[in-house]
């Protein structure tokens, strides 16, 4: 049993047609940083709230450090929570917000003072302890919320889309900061986000969810390079998905007949047969000029984005995305007829 263990968790709201979360089983190790990733409505926040105790699970069990806490009320779970809107107490100043959890634990005044200072220093807000909440910027509020959750030395830190209300630049800084604090404290963390870049950047492991169920659990690399299915492939990073027919499989490599492209090869872990989907990331696609009678398709869009050039190539009814390193090859104009190709190890057969 892992440090935080969730077994067969189900949440079904009365009157709902299908459960918000179904058969959720996951073990999280001590000190691990796990992200729950998925589009809105996938059940990730509901799962987090069941861990926190704010939502009661319909069935299933939750264990923390070997002790069951499925029915333990929120205020006895001792988890640190950071909310999407921070939920700072507007009538208390920064220091008193942070001290709140310690007051509830009846920590002595002197110790509370020391720990509040430490927590505020950790999030680099020591100089603002007397400020009122509405005098703080969004980023500062975020740090106060983090300090308030950390000061109680929670067994698990739960972050519910903590960065979504910040502007893009601040978001990158904050996520680095959260990750470095988490590493420093070694605190077990569950992080809910709908932003795949965020999840890829900070997580030890990512749980991809869709419509209440887990689609895949894995390290960022596993999730990106070896998506378990079309949903994950599409959701994580950009993807070209081709319909294909497997003609022959040998030694982990499949020979395929790809619609519009003809005979190609791809990595095949599972030894599948018959119809299949092939995933190729745009930056792994290769494109070259070809005579009209020899071409797969026509360049339809050209977008220059500094480091690279992105082409949209029309193949039959589909558009294939290709990302080329700028300057590495001849720049293609719109209307150019082209051939598409890839290295066998850059293509993956999905079932």
């Amino acid at each position: 049993m892992s440090f935080l263990q969730l077994d067969d968790i189900v949440k079904k709201y009365p009157g709902a047609e299908r459960p918000s979360v179904a058969d959720f089983t996951l073990g999280i190790d001590q000190g691990e940083f796990v992200s729950l990733l998925g589009p809105s409505g996938c059940g990730k926040t509901t799962t987090l709230r069941m861990i926190a105790g704010l939502v009661e699970a319909t069935s299933g069990r939750i264990h923390l450090d070997g002790k069951e806490l499925t029915r333990t009320p929120v205020h006895q779970r001792g988890m640190g929570l950071v909310f999407q809107n921070y939920a700072l107490f507007p009538h208390l100043n920064v220091a008193r917000n942070v001290a709140f959890g310690l007051e509830m634990r009846r920590t002595s005044k002197a110790e509370a003072k020391r720990r509040v200072e430490e927590a505020l220093d950790l999030v680099r807000l020591g100089h603002l302890s007397g400020r009122r909440i509405k005098q703080l910027s969004g980023g500062q509020q975020q740090r106060v919320a983090l300090a308030r959750a950390l000061v109680i030395e929670p067994a698990v830190l739960l972050l519910d889309e903590p960065l979504s209300n910040l502007d893009a630049k601040l978001r990158d800084t904050m996520r680095e900061e959260i990750r470095s604090i988490q590493r420093k404290l070694g605190i077990t963390t569950v992080f809910v986000t709908h932003d795949q870049d965020e999840a890829l950047a900070v997580s030890d492991r990512i749980v991809v969810m869709s419509e209440g169920v887990i689609e895949q659990v894995g390290t960022p690399e596993q999730i990106y390079e070896h998506p378990a299915n079309r949903f994950v492939a599409n959701f994580i990073g950009r993807a070209n998905l081709f319909d294909a027919q497997i003609t022959h499989t040998a030694g982990g490599v499949a020979e395929l007949d790809v619609a519009g492209l003809g005979q190609m090869r791809a990595v095949d872990d599972q030894g599948a047969k018959g119809p299949a989907t092939v995933l190729v990331r745009p930056h792994r696609m290769q494109v070259s000029k070809a005579a009209a009678d020899d071409a797969h398709g026509t360049v339809e869009t050209v977008v220059y984005v500094g480091d690279s050039i992105e082409y949209g190539v029309r193949v039959g009814d589909n558009t294939v995305s290709v990302q080329s390193v700028a300057g590495a090859a001849e720049r293609l104009e719109r209307g150019t007829t082209v051939r598409l190709s890839w290295q066998t190890e850059d293509a993956l057969v999905l079932t």
Binding site: G53, G80, A87
Partner: protein, 286 residues
């Protein structure tokens, strides 16, 4: 002064003048007239002698009966205010927190009594609380009492009826005052180890203070200036400043004395408003 600011000033003036005029005609002038009246000499036949005397004020100040009346009035204001908060708060809190799709209808229902005049509602209480009213009939039917309780024609009835009449005002103020509140704050407090009770006292209650204070001010002022309900339900046994003003003005016809009491009541309002503003400033300074 530039032309632009001058025209802006004129616009402001133009926009405020109708309101100021309305206020002058409907409020300041009658008040000035009332102040003048309070310095006339009245006698018990209702005859008014135009003069300039402080007799009416002296009559009030020099008689402990009126001090008692002022004290009873203050007590009534405080009592009704506290009771109204106690009964309205749970309703307001429920209305703020409910996720029912009938929320709008429920809020409308809670304040709907405002659509009925307080006179009608007071008569309603006379019927409900009377000896043959449903309350007494139910109590006797259940065997809890063998004689009907005296719930009207006394102070108890005045309190009950006034609290009910004031509830919609209080609920409205509380709903408006809950603006800064959102349920995530309760969740945050709970996640930090606060049980329901401490969450309420440390988070919900302080955050609702502006609404509570505004509601308290409104209810206090409306209560100590209400005369219809105390007169109808009081059975002629309870006297407050407002009923006394009404009696002096329309029964005894001693207008100078009525005017003097009116100004004393206004002074009481002023004290309460100063206290309210102090309290509000303290809360906002937090």
């Amino acid at each position: 002064m530039s032309a632009k600011t001058r025209s802006a000033r004129l616009t402001v003036l133009g926009l405020t003048v109708p309101g100021l005029l309305g206020l002058a005609v409907s409020f300041v002038l009658p008040l000035a007239w009332l102040l003048r009246m309070s310095f006339n000499r009245g006698d018990s036949t209702g005859y008014i002698e135009e003069t300039f005397t402080l007799d009416s004020y002296a009559q009030f100040v020099g008689d402990s009966y009126y001090w008692d009346m002022a004290w009873e009035t203050t007590l009534l204001g405080l009592g009704v205010t506290v009771l109204t908060i106690v009964v309205s708060y749970p309703i307001a809190l429920f209305l703020v927190r409910t996720e029912s799709r009938f929320k709008g209808i429920l809020v409308a229902l809670a304040v709907a009594p405002l659509l009925t005049s307080s006179v009608v509602r007071t008569y309603g209480w006379l019927v409900l609380l009377g000896n043959q009213g449903v309350v007494n009939q139910a109590l006797m039917g259940a065997g809890l009492v063998d004689q009907p309780l005296a719930l009207i024609n006394n102070r108890i009835g005045v309190y009950i009826a006034l609290v009910e009449i004031m509830m919609p005002y209080m609920i409205l103020c509380l709903l408006a005052g809950f603006g800064r509140f959102n349920q995530e704050l309760e969740h945050a407090a709970q996640s930090l180890g606060a049980n329901r009770w401490r969450t309420f006292w440390r988070i919900v209650w302080p955050l609702s203070m502006p609404g509570v204070l505004t509601g308290a001010l409104l209810v206090f002022v409306l209560t100590i200036s209400s005369f219809v309900t105390p007169r109808l339900v009081g059975g002629g046994k309870v006297f407050y400043l407002a009923t006394e003003i009404y009696d002096q003005a329309t029964a005894t016809l001693n207008w100078p004395f009525a005017a003097a009491i009116a100004f004393i009541l206004l002074a009481l309002f002023a004290v309460v408003i100063v206290i309210y503003q102090r309290a509000l400033r303290r809360i906002e300074a937090q």
